[in-house]
């Protein structure tokens, strides 16, 4: 074969590729911006379940006009804006043809058509299929089995029959449902923030048991409660409740914080050498002790003197876990009574922040020195490693420690570290357009997935702490302004998805969930650390604005 023939064959390959690519692009794309002209899906929801669905081409408002059909029933009208065929009836192609939280899917079989709207798919928790690859957990498109099962049920056939003989389309809708709320940067006012924090704190207080523990994780769609529990998260929720109770002088929240604190003090405190620690079983971590210490200090500041001695004990335990280089040993073997020098994410930052906070009530110079060394360790970056400017974790306690310690032991290197990290976070924020308006300000976890609220919220806790120090340290106004805008956009993202009151029609017990922050637009579970982080960030900003 001559070079000329060779190049000609390559050109043919390129041409065929371009034609195929163009065809695929125009077949699968849908135009979300065009005026809606498709049929209306009129759904009636009652006690969190869809009880009826009618598809009409006009006058959807006359289909169902009031609660005569049942108590608490609610009508939702969704109009199809555009639709496109699913390219191929295969598990793989169907799984990757639906945009999470935005697309619905329809199936036609035997002359009948069934629709799963975005509300249905959210209710089914079908928008994300989690695939375990060794230690990694990857989201690989939608959960095709759930989608096929639901569509087949509506069409009176079997899922495998439907996949083989049905024809599928995806579609975009406009809905009259008020969730997510339409909140822009301009709506993030001090009043809106205060109200959001109060709602989040009340969510935790409402979901507290008599013994002081919380309903750890609630599924907003089913109302089911997870059986798991986690002491660092219990302590974090207690810390937030104590802060909210004290800032808003809300006795109910303060009592809830006290109950949660008493649970740790009386029922989850163990002996770790000469000191007390928090947890259960043969091994504890310093995360629970650090967050419990933060909560105790906050409760102590609110006048609960019974937490003084336990706070000092926990501070002693954290100091005893610190190494000479400032790092902490993150675990302790209760059974064998010795520290375990293993590190995981977050705990060093939590311990540093807790020791700095403890110094405010202990007055013990050792606490401040331990916090100062911990902070120096956390922000040390080798000038030889260029990647230190590009690779960042989700660790969000360091910058809160920076803010807490700044007036007593200012660390300019830590401030630079936190400003750099926030610059990276700004780059990770969704911008609308091209992103959907409801994602604007959220931290991306990839272009094909809905952003999660808690990674945004925890970064916000650090961002507001950085803003506080940046203002105090005289950082140039332009940089401070960037940070403020980034914070407000991210708050707008969180407020859009907070259950105030949320998609109540599809929730089995909306009263229980009110004020909670879900995992994401497609994961409507509320775990206790979700309102803790979101509420914590908002409260920190509210406190800053009061100054």
């Amino acid at each position: 074969m001559t070079p000329r023939v060779f190049l000609r064959l390559l050109a043919i390959w390129g041409g065929v590729l371009v034609v195929c690519a163009t065809m695929i692009f125009f077949v699968v794309r849908i135009d979300r911006a065009r005026p809606a002209a498709g049929p209306y899906l009129v759904s009636v929801w009652q006690r969190g379940e869809r009880t009826a669905r009618t598809v009409v081409t006009d006058k959807p408002e006359v289909v169902w006009q009031g609660p005569a059909d049942g108590r608490g029933a609610q009508r939702v009208i969704e109009q199809i804006v555009d639709s496109a065929p699913i390219l191929w009836n295969s598990w793989l192609v169907l799984g990757h043809s639906i945009v999470p939280a935005r697309d619905g899917v329809s199936a036609s079989f035997d002359g009948r058509t069934a629709y799963l709207s975005p509300d249905d798919l959210r209710k089914l928790e079908a928008y994300e299929f989690t695939f375990a690859l060794g230690p990694l957990s990857l989201v690989m498109g939608i959960d095709v089995n759930k989608v096929l099962g639901a569509l087949a049920h509506e069409l009176g056939t079997e899922p495998h029959e439907l996949l083989r003989h049905g024809s599928f389309r995806r579609f975009a809708v406009v809905s009259d449902a008020p969730y997510p709320r339409k909140v822009s940067e301009a709506d993030v006012t001090v009043e809106a923030i205060k109200s959001s924090v109060q709602d989040a704190a009340r969510y935790l207080s409402r979901n507290q048991r008599r013994d002081g523990t919380f309903r750890y994780e609630l599924d907003a769609m089913t109302g089911e409660e997870s059986r798991d529990y986690n002491f660092p998260r219990h302590a974090g929720a207690t810390f937030f409740l104590a802060r909210a109770g004290s800032q808003f002088r809300d006795a109910q929240l303060s009592r809830a914080a006290e109950r949660a604190g008493n649970f740790m003090k009386d029922r989850a405190t163990l002996r770790c050498g000469a000191f007390a620690c928090v947890g259960e079983g043969d091994q504890v971590d310093i995360g629970a002790a650090a967050l419990a210490l933060l909560a105790y200090v906050e409760l102590l500041s609110g006048g609960n003197e019974e937490f003084r001695a336990p706070a000092l004990e926990l501070a002693g335990f954290l100091r005893s876990q610190q190494r000479a280089d400032g790092e902490f040993q993150h675990f302790y073997s209760v059974k064998e009574q010795h520290p375990i020098d293993v590190q995981v994410e977050y705990y060093t930052g939590e311990a540093t922040y807790a020791l700095s906070h403890a110094h405010r009530v202990s007055g013990d110079a050792r606490d401040l020195e331990a916090a100062r060394r911990g902070l120096s360790f956390l922000v040390a970056r080798s000038p030889l490693f260029l990647g230190s400017h590009y690779f960042w974790g989700a660790e969000h306690w360091t910058c809160q420690a920076l803010a807490d310690i700044w007036q007593r032991a200012p660390d300019p290197v830590a401030l630079e570290f936190c400003l750099d990290w926030q610059a990276v976070n700004r780059n990770l924020q969704f911008d609308s357009p091209p992103a959907p308006a409801s994602y604007d300000g959220g931290i991306t976890r990839g272009p094909f997935m809905a952003p999660r609220l808690t990674p945004t919220a925890s970064r916000l806790e650090a961002a507001v702490a950085t803003l506080e120090v940046a203002r105090a340290a005289g950082v140039p106004a332009a940089q401070v302004e960037l940070l403020e805008r980034q914070i407000k956009r991210a708050f707008a993202f969180l407020l859009r998805y907070q259950f105030t009151p949320g998609p109540t029609y599809s929730m089995s017990n909306p009263r229980l969930l009110a004020g909670g922050f879900p995992g994401s637009a497609v994961d409507l579970h509320v775990r206790i650390d979700y309102p803790q982080h979101a509420g914590g960030a908002l409260l920190r900003y509210w406190e800053l604005e009061q100054k």
């Binding site: 074969m1 390959w13 091209p434 272009p447 094909f448």
Partner: protein, 131 residues
């Protein structure tokens, strides 16, 4: 050139074998079989070229053709997947496009350019031996 192509094919085979069997988990025949086939063919051609064995050029021809055709197939699949995802998700941002383009840019030299150069060199070799 014989030595250069021998060394390059040996390196490509090594990268493929380590990449597929050392890094990628779990095992999946649809990926393992074609990539292992290419790697073994490249390894055989490298041995043949470096040791100046009589079947060296023939082995190079087979490995180059197989690599070239499968390479074009892989690049086509990746490009069509990018277009498909862009059609489904709309404009998913510069970062997504940059990552997709980077993957193609990293693959093309090994899967398309190297075997193409080998085929052109083989063509010239045959021309010279005939004249």
């Amino acid at each position: 050139m014989r030595v250069t192509f021998g060394v390059l094919n040996a390196l490509s085979a090594l990268v493929l074998l380590v990449g597929v069997f050392g890094v990628v988990q779990p095992r999946f025949w649809a990926l393992d079989v074609p990539l292992a086939t290419i790697a073994l063919l490249e390894l055989a051609s490298a041995v043949g070229l470096l040791a100046k064995l009589p079947w060296g050029l023939r082995a190079l021809s087979v490995s180059a053709w197989v690599s070239f055709v499968l390479g074009l197939l892989v690049v086509s699949c990746i490009l069509l997947t990018i277009v498909f995802l862009r059609g489904i998700h709309g404009d998913y941002g510069v970062a997504g496009l940059a990552v997709s383009a980077l993957i193609v840019a990293l693959l093309v030299p090994y899967t398309v350019v190297l075997p193409a150069l080998e085929l052109l060199w083989l063509k010239r070799q045959r021309g010279e031996s005939l004249s």
